[in-house]
């Protein structure tokens, strides 16, 4: 399964790095290369008081719900210092990796899909995207509450930005 509609991160045994036992407290797998399966992925720079060394950590995430999970989990209580979304897109017949800087995350519902919950990401280029395919939100989506603004407090407008680019 290398081409999947489910966004995931694939690791191969051949890319594994063998480290001395005890390097990590748990039996983690350490790799020098991974492959992204699906249309896109997130790179998050995260701060949390739950981190032992209090240093920000970089997470590679496939699912939008996990991004929100890190923020809303009482155990993690994470703050997003930076959130980037990468996706392979084709423009003028040429493939490129599009990267978008996320400024805010909101929760909404899709009224055309039984009010299913949707997570929306507002990017610095004014675009808004949602779903595993990182598509533009359809008109049937009703915007709900702000989940988080992204960025250092000193450098980011913490007012509620709307997915249409406005500021509440």
């Amino acid at each position: 399964m290398r081409n999947s509609s489910i966004p995931l991160i694939l690791t191969d045994e051949h890319a594994r790095v063998r480290l001395p036992e005890g390097t990590f407290s748990q039996p983690e797998t350490v790799l020098r290369m991974v492959e992204v399966v699906g249309r896109g992925f997130f790179v998050a720079l995260v701060a949390s008081d739950s981190f032992e060394d209090r240093q920000p950590r970089t997470l590679i995430m496939s699912w939008d719900s996990d991004v929100v999970g890190f923020i809303e989990s009482p155990k993690m209580d994470a703050r997003l210092l930076q959130l980037e979304h990468f996706s392979a897109t084709e423009e003028d017949g040429q493939l490129r990796l599009r990267h978008r800087q996320v400024l805010a995350i909101s929760r909404g519902v899709d009224t055309a899909a039984g009010d299913a919950e949707v997570i929306m990401f507002l990017a610095s280029d004014g675009s808004c995207f949602c779903g595993q395919e990182a598509v533009s939100p359809p008109r049937s989506i009703k915007v709900g509450s702000l989940i988080a603004n992204v960025g250092n407090q000193s450098g980011t407008d913490t007012r509620h930005r709307q997915p249409n680019g406005g500021v509440a």
């Binding site: 399964m1 290398r2 081409n3 489910i6 995931l8 991160i9 694939l10 690791t11 191969d12 045994e13 051949h14 790095v17 990590f24 748990q26 039996p27 983690e28 797998t29 350490v30 790799l31 020098r32 290369m33 991974v34 492959e35 992204v36 399966v37 992925f41 790179v43 720079l45 920000p56 950590r57 970089t58 997470l59 590679i60 995430m61 496939s62 699912w63 996990d66 210092l81 930076q82 980037e84 990468f86 392979a88 423009e91 040429q94 493939l95 490129r96 990796l97 990267h99 978008r100 800087q101 610095s124 250092n152």
Partner: protein
């Protein structure tokens, strides 16, 4: 390096999984040194494959040994002053030499002509180009890096 988080493993039935592969929803990056996003595809009608790598030598090795179209390379570099990652679109990859080091070097040239090399992919000084590994088609690109003001 990329470090797994056991709680975020996604179990794919063995018949569906690629041989020797494991699947994850989330990984941790354990380094603050630059890393790389290499996009390839088997042919013009195939979907993109994106690889995340932590060593520049792996990028060159992959390009030289894989029978695929290499579409793009993005250098992701830590901006320590602003405590964030910057994404830099690369236009050319060169095998290179540096008089200060015995080991072969990798030289990256971004879409604006700036050169980077070394463990921290600093602006290259005195690095000599030896062999062109790949040159990507030049786009009328936007910002130099996602983290820069413009």
């Amino acid at each position: 390096m990329f470090v797994s988080l056991p709680d975020y493993r996604f179990h794919v039935p063995t018949p569906l999984a690629a041989p020797g592969a494991a699947y994850w929803r989330c990984l941790v990056l354990s380094t603050t040194t630059p890393w790389y996003l290499l996009t390839t595809r088997a042919d013009e009608n195939s979907p993109a494959d994106t690889f995340l790598m932590v060593w520049d030598s792996d990028v060159v090795q992959a390009i030289k040994t894989c029978d695929v179209q290499v579409e793009s390379l993005t250098l992701v570099s830590r901006n320590r002053n602003r405590n964030r990652w910057d994404s830099i679109d690369i236009a050319e990859i060169w095998e290179a030499s540096d008089p200060e080091y015995e080991e072969p070097q990798v030289l990256l040239v971004d879409v604006h002509g700036a050169e980077y090399s070394g463990y921290f992919m600093q602006p290259a000084v005195g690095v000599q180009r030896l062999r062109l590994v790949v040159k990507f088609p030049v786009r009328s690109s936007g910002p130099r890096a996602t983290g820069e003001e413009h």
